[in-house]
Symmetry: C2
Subunit: 307 residues, 2 copies
């Protein structure tokens, strides 16, 4: 099944303890697309400026990503600069130039209307809701958000969450959204806002999926996918979007959406996130093979597997 992602395409400057890069292709939709492309056919809705050229276009093309929804606008592409110190879990934003992204109004090409899997990357919640409402054949919607919207657009975000099946956020965001310090309580609270399942990402410690009672089969226990500790995290940028790409891409490749499939998807999410951070930008995501992905899936599985 095809999956559609709506989100940002950007040029990034990144500095980390491992080095520094400038003007590399980034953005949530980019990381998501590349990651998901190893599992299924990906369609993108995003906006770029006149500085987005053949070189960048080719990166999408090499992964057979459908860019008919990539709008070319007058002006410059969204630019972001960030630095990481020894605490690689948090980026310090050096600059944000929204440029053409400032007035982004997602337009869904006619050819995309039959898409059954949708991922709403981190954009203004009302835009996320608008996109969801336009897609009548969607079976499963995944969604990301961030502190900025939780603080500044909470009501809009809550409206969006009513339309979403799986929300993927990190510990801090979950606790902030629920106004709760206990993670399981925060999870229950967020699930009561609409989603059938909530994926909470723990960075180097993996991720946990919490289910609404009865969603995707029987049971109510959460499930946790661990992550292998990575020797050198070069660039954490895009780890969450790469996680989402692996998670949603794997789901879109499966016939049934059983709880067991969602568990495997959680592992694939962790696998793709772990690859993403091994090199700067999307470099590692560009050159993977499905065999490499499945080999790491096995390692992640064995990491917690008792005989």
């Amino acid at each position: 099944m095809s999956i559609l992602v709506v989100g940002s395409v950007a040029f990034d400057d990144v500095t980390s303890p491992s080095g520094s890069v400038k003007n590399i292709l980034g953005g949530a939709a980019t990381y998501f697309s590349l990651s998901a492309s190893y599992f299924t056919k990906v369609r993108v809705v995003a906006v770029v400026g006149e500085d987005f050229g053949a070189e960048q276009e080719q990166i999408f093309g090499q992964h057979d990503i459908d860019t008919r929804g990539l709008e070319r606008a007058k002006g410059k592409t969204f630019r972001w600069g960030g630095s990481y110190s020894d605490n690689l879990n948090e980026a310090k934003t050096d600059f944000t130039d929204l440029n053409v992204f400032q007035t982004f109004q997602p337009r869904i090409p006619k050819e995309y209307e039959d898409t059954e899997f949708l991922f709403l990357a981190n954009i203004q919640p009302t835009l996320q809701a608008d996109v969801r409402r336009k897609m009548n054949r969607v079976r499963l919607t995944g969604c990301d958000t961030m502190n900025y919207w939780i603080k500044g657009a909470l009501n809009e975000l809550k409206e969006t969450l009513k339309l979403v099946d799986v929300l993927l956020i990190n510990d801090t965001e979950a606790k902030m959204l629920a106004n709760e310090t206990s993670l399981p309580r925060a999870a229950n609270n967020v699930l009561s806002m609409g989603p059938q399942a909530l994926v909470i990402k723990h960075g180097e410690y993996g991720a946990t999926i919490f289910f609404r009672e009865g969603a995707f089969g029987i049971g109510h226990h959460p499930f946790r996918a661990p992550a292998l500790p990575i020797e050198e995290v070069k660039d954490p940028t895009g780890a969450g979007d790469s996680f989402a790409g692996g998670f949603m891409g794997y789901l879109a490749s499966q016939k049934d959406l059983s709880r067991e499939v969602l568990k495997r998807a959680l592992f694939y999410g962790g696998v793709m996130g772990s690859f993403a951070v091994e090199r700067f930008g999307t470099e590692r995501l560009q050159s993977l093979t499905r065999d490499e992905i499945d080999a790491r899936f096995q390692i992640f599985r064995e990491l917690t597997h008792l005989e």
Copy 2:
């Protein structure tokens, strides 16, 4: 097999978002003993003052813990007061009255000399090394330490680590001990100091065990035991010692010390830590059954188990 723990017995005052208690029985050796007592016979070497009475003695007695090594000294028992805010991972120490613990010199009763499993709870590293050297029949030594000794007695600690088989510390301590920000690199560095295996505890995210190449069987991949998110952590005090009690107690109950047994021990460590924090002090550890422990072991196992 019997296991011997050398460490502190204390009276604690604890304040957390869930409430406040005063003068409850605490100390690393207490948490460890109670936790390990569900798996094997436990022997204690510690010191208490004249305020340690029949009521406290009985708590050990009810778990058939051998207290012939519990020295009664003139003066008061070690007292500690701590508070936890919403971040339950870190205690703020309100007071530390070492009292009789100040001049603690562990004395091993003759009847303990045949002990094959030893746990050196968090005490001055030179005392830890002295105890280890006195025990000639020990097959496996576990050890804990803390930031205080890493900063203030690093050379002594490094001498102790040469005598230790398994070191159990948390992320911050491992990174500080190795002077490394990457966890896998920190682990390799610590393993080069002596231990055959290193258990790094991640609080609510579980724990990872790193092995020296060739130790406890073939392979070099780490292994991770996740922890179930707990709805209400009432009192994190003693979680690490309860973890160590489950881990070491399970090892002492097994014939072989294969890698598979160490993995299971890591799960049992997480299980016992998760029980400990559900109530204040040792309350929950006093009233468990082996069936409850094994039921939670199954839940932890299923938490990451793919079909």
